[in-house]
């Protein structure tokens, strides 16, 4: 019996008698004629193999002879080396229809890019990001730089692939329709933060989120740095503490977010060592064609932080999918999009929670993904939700 890792129920192999019965039943033939039919079929396949070397059965597959050259092997019992003479091997190649039918339980799984080695990361960005941490060896930087030009060209594609793969809509066991670009979803790309942190600690580990995730992080960091330098008020990102080590404040203790429209004072750098209680915000005038997603991508450095914008601008936004053009948004300054501090994580989680509440009313089928995203940013908030949540959604969010 075939071992099956994913719990698909499998019956025992059926006997030939049962097979004949099934075929007879389906063809409305007697069992005797079904039996002789199968025997004829088998003998014709064999003679076909002998005469032409291959037999195709449409909708099923192709039997083929493959000539194997002489090779050496070990005797399975004695372990001594033996010479296996050249001979034919019968191979069966299932056709596409059969392959797809058999693979159906796994068809929702997609290939994805992984980061194999730190060496493979374009170091131009990596250096900026870790300028003060000194954790990158010069050898790694040089290795990355040498091939950077080539990788840079592929970046958008890599990005797209990851986003498609990480879309929660593709992983629910069945494929869901693709999302509208204007309704970005809480996708689990945030996991790459943890990977990044763990990658610093245990570089040799077998991280599936490999190189591509690091490239995106590096890009985001670079964009953020660019914006910060332009504003000449950038906090020192390299000295940010790792957020996993900070205790997260409970949601009840969260202060009210500053919603003033006033521009931030220059030089108001975030001090990473003190507990942050509110965001320094800039005002941003929305242009036609923009969405919260694109603004989060451009201004915050990570599109998945868009609920933060929704949360901070709840006075003018109700439907998260509609963004009035020419409205003034409060855009927070965040310390480092790859390494949010506990306050920022909390706020993003609260943003996702607001989205969950909105979607619970307006889009109940997809609401649970937002609740799950809450837990990604702040497991504490998921443990103690600020208001009543649907128990099914909560179970989904906790067990996902």
């Amino acid at each position: 019996m075939t071992l099956n890792t994913s719990g698909i129920k499998m019956s025992e192999k059926i006997t030939f008698k049962e097979l004949v019965e099934l075929i007879a039943e389906q063809s409305r033939q007697s069992q005797a004629s079904a039996n002789s039919f199968i025997h004829e079929l088998v003998s014709i396949i064999e003679s076909g193999l002998k005469t032409s070397g291959s037999v195709s059965i449409s909708g099923f597959g192709k039997f083929e002879l493959r000539w194997m050259n002489e090779r050496t092997g070990t005797h399975p019992q004695t372990g001594e080396e033996i010479t296996i003479p050249a001979q034919n091997k019968v191979v069966f190649k299932p056709f596409k229809a059969l392959r797809e039918e058999v693979n159906k339980p796994y068809s929702y799984l997609k290939t994805r890019l992984i980061r194999e080695e730190y060496d493979a990361v374009p170091a131009g960005f990596e250096e900026e990001e870790n300028a003060d941490s000194g954790k990158k060896s010069t050898r790694e930087s040089a290795a990355g730089k040498a091939s950077f030009g080539k990788k840079g060209k592929d970046l958008p594609t890599v990005d797209e692939l990851l986003i498609i793969h990480d879309n929660p809509y593709f992983s629910g066991g069945k494929r869901q329709p693709e999302m509208e670009p204007s309704t970005p979803l809480p996708a689990p790309i945030v996991f790459s933060y943890e990977d990044k942190i763990a990658g610093e600690v245990q570089r040799s580990g077998s991280f599936k989120w490999s190189y591509a995730a690091a490239v995106i992080i590096a890009l985001i960091a670079f964009m953020l740095l660019f914006f910060m330098m332009r504003d000449s008020a950038g906090p020192d990102i390299a000295q940010m503490p790792q957020q996993t080590e900070q205790p997260l404040p409970s949601p009840a203790e969260q202060p009210i977010i500053d919603r003033e429209n006033g521009a931030a004072e220059p030089g108001a750098a975030t001090d990473a060592d003190t507990v942050q209680t509110e965001f320094t915000t800039d005002t941003y005038n929305v242009e036609a064609g923009q969405s919260l997603w694109t603004i989060a991508e451009n201004r915050l450095g990570n599109p998945y932080l868009w609920p933060l914008l929704y949360q901070l601008n709840s006075n003018i936004l109700d439907n998260p999918n509609l963004l009035p053009a020419a409205s003034d948004l409060n855009v927070p300054r965040i310390s480092n999009p790859d390494n949010l501090n506990s306050f920022e994580r909390e706020q993003v989680a609260l943003g996702y929670f607001s989205l969950y509440e909105w979607n619970r009313v307006n889009n109940p089928d997809e609401a649970r993904y937002f609740l799950w995203a809450v837990g990604v940013f702040s497991p504490e908030l998921l443990e103690a939700p600020p208001s009543q949540v649907n128990p099914d959604d909560l179970a989904f969010a906790r067990n996902r």
Binding site: S11, V42, F60, Q87, V90, R99, T111, S210
Partner: protein
């Protein structure tokens, strides 16, 4: 040998019309496929055993992205030829024979 040659010979041997033969063959294939999908496999005497197995996910290098790709686990069909068939065709087309 392709499908139509197979049907020709089958209908000759069983005495059924080609249409009928095609239908029965289609049904037989359906039953086999169903057994492979829902069950653990099926043995056909003198031909071999069809079974399925789940290939675990694996890491492969993709030169286009210059990166490694994680290929997810996949359920595939396996075929083990029957001993009789294997031995019968073993040296077909062997130049030395």
């Amino acid at each position: 040998m392709n499908q139509s040659e197979l049907i020709d010979r089958l209908s000759e041997q069983t005495g059924n019309t080609k249409t009928k033969t095609k239908e029965i063959l289609g049904n037989a294939i359906d039953v086999l496929t169903k057994q492979l999908v829902d069950g653990s496999g099926v043995s056909v005497p003198n031909l071999g055993t069809f079974s399925t197995k789940v290939n675990p996910e694996k890491k492969v290098y993709n030169p286009h992205y210059d990166a490694y790709i994680l290929v997810p686990e996949k359920r595939v069909v396996e075929f083990t030829p029957a001993t009789g068939l294997k031995d019968d065709v073993k040296y077909i087309g062997d130049k030395d024979e």
